[in-house]
């Protein structure tokens, strides 16, 4: 279903413009990181792409073949929302909604829990798992759907360094399986580790799009340069 094209997309709510005339085409392949300060509109942009929010103006088009409705996509949120049932049942739930046959659900769910190293707790209620485990479970739930595109909205913002490392490693595995990664973060180190290209967002506008190396060495925009300078000492 890729490439995903945003054609002059804006989003405003209560008179505030959160996304301001963004036009961009995102293709298969490189891991795309949406970078920018808090309040830049990263989460809103991802929600627009994922279809959780309707654009106020402009169009969002999945231009590629197959699943023209953009149904083969998944999203992992900053704070995972787990259902009051077991870890395994949470993954099975997603597969059920996706129309996977009953016989296949449990097998796939068990496989993917194994891949994120949660087999040992698959029978435990999901909500009593640690924050890091819950985020891995959220990744597993999305991964099990075998999406063509996976959106990740600051997936490690609430996690400690160890849990962050686990999550990043899983994201890399999902990417290696051929899933397009589109991720937002305000963490420069993470953008560097996980990104191939950077979309830099500031005040709802797409300020810059560059390959990751170039972005950090020679940002094309003054805003990006300032952001990198301000953030670097802490990374």
């Amino acid at each position: 279903m890729l490439p995903l094209e945003l054609r002059d997309v804006s989003f405003a709510i209560n008179g505030r413009t959160l996304i301001d005339h963004v036009s961009v085409e995102i293709g298969a392949g490189p891991r795309t990181v949406i970078l920018g300060p808090n309040g830049a509109g990263k989460s809103v942009l991802m929600r627009l792409c994922h279809g959780l929010l309707p654009a106020s103006a402009g169009r969002i088009i999945w231009r590629g073949a197959g699943s023209a409705d953009g149904s083969r996509q998944a999203m992992v949120f900053q704070r995972p929302v787990m259902l009051r049932r077991s870890a395994l049942a949470n993954v099975v739930y997603g597969l059920k909604l996706a129309g996977v046959s009953r016989a296949e659900r449990e097998l796939r769910a068990a496989d993917v829990l194994d891949a994120v190293d949660l087999s040992a707790v698959s029978g435990r209620p999901a909500r009593v798992l640690s924050g890091g485990e819950q985020q891995r479970l959220a990744l597993a739930r999305a991964w099990a759907l075998n999406p063509e595109v996976l959106f990740l909205d600051e997936p490690t913002a609430n996690l400690d360094p160890n849990a962050t490392r686990d999550v990043e490693s899983i994201i890399n595995q999902i990417c290696a399986g051929g899933t397009k990664i589109i991720m937002s973060t305000h963490n420069l180190g993470q953008a560097r580790r996980l990104g191939d290209e950077i979309l830099f967002l500031s005040h709802g506008r797409l300020v810059e799009r560059s390959p990751v190396e170039q972005f950090f060495k020679q940002p094309a925009s003054a805003e990006a340069a300032a952001f990198i300078r301000a953030e670097l000492p802490w990374n």
Partner: protein
């Protein structure tokens, strides 16, 4: 004061001896109210869930109406159900006026708005938390409603309790449609009203103590279940 002491002593005597008449009245009370709450839950939970996740014209008005109906006066419900079930009424042919079935209907009518309104609030709060995740996974509103009903199941126990408390405590509706017939439709609240007016204070007080005790026990049990479930499921 002396009267009160004697009444208490006799009340505990009746309770201790498991007085047959007392047991009969308590049993019928429980049967009627539990059945009413069960019917009200079957109607009220889906209604609450639909109002919580649905978006349609008139939704706001229905919610206001439902919240207002939580305060329905039992005697008015009793009167309306009486008219429906009486010989000349539209449901008169069933001949269930002055039977426990009529009392169940009246209490169910009384309790359904409570269960629907409170579950609507509970499920709507959960929907706010779950909405993006569920929609992201492709859940339609109908899927979401069932998912939320199941996921808030421990809070909904408390909602049912509120309904049970209301049903067990009301006098007006069961008095009108049941008739307080000895051995047939006499429940705790109607018996208390009758025995008090007859002057048999010990029996009235004994029933009152049992009624309060039962409500406390049911709430305590439900609270234990809820606490244990939250510890287990988070």
């Amino acid at each position: 004061m002396n009267d009160l002491n004697r009444a208490f002593a006799e009340a505990f005597g009746l309770i201790g001896a498991l007085d047959a008449k007392l047991v009969e009245i308590v049993t019928l009370s429980l049967e009627v109210s539990v059945a009413a709450v069960a019917f009200a839950a079957v109607a009220g939970f889906p209604l609450g869930a639909a109002l919580a996740v649905g978006r349609f014209r008139g939704r706001g008005s229905i919610i206001v109406l439902l919240n207002a109906l939580m305060g329905l006066p039992p005697v008015v419900v009793g009167l309306v159900v009486y008219l429906l079930l009486s010989r000349a009424g539209p449901l008169g042919e069933f001949g269930i006026l002055f039977t426990p079935a009529a009392m169940v209907i009246a209490q169910a009518v009384l309790v359904t708005p409570i269960i629907a309104a409170l579950s609507r609030q509970t499920i709507e709060d959960a929907w706010r938390e779950y909405e993006e995740q569920l929609r992201s996974l492709g859940a339609k509103r109908l899927n979401a409603a069932f998912t939320l009903l199941w996921d808030t199941r421990f809070s909904l126990i408390t909602v049912m309790l509120a309904g049970f408390g209301r049903a067990a405590a009301e006098v007006g509706a069961v008095m009108i449609v049941g008739g307080n017939i000895d051995g047939v439709t006499r429940v705790m609240t109607t018996a208390i009203a009758l025995e008090t007016s007859k002057g048999d204070l010990p029996l009235a007080l004994g029933l009152g103590i049992i009624l309060v005790g039962l409500v406390i026990m049911v709430n305590a049990a439900a609270n234990l279940i809820r606490e244990a479930a939250l510890r287990r499921y988070g």
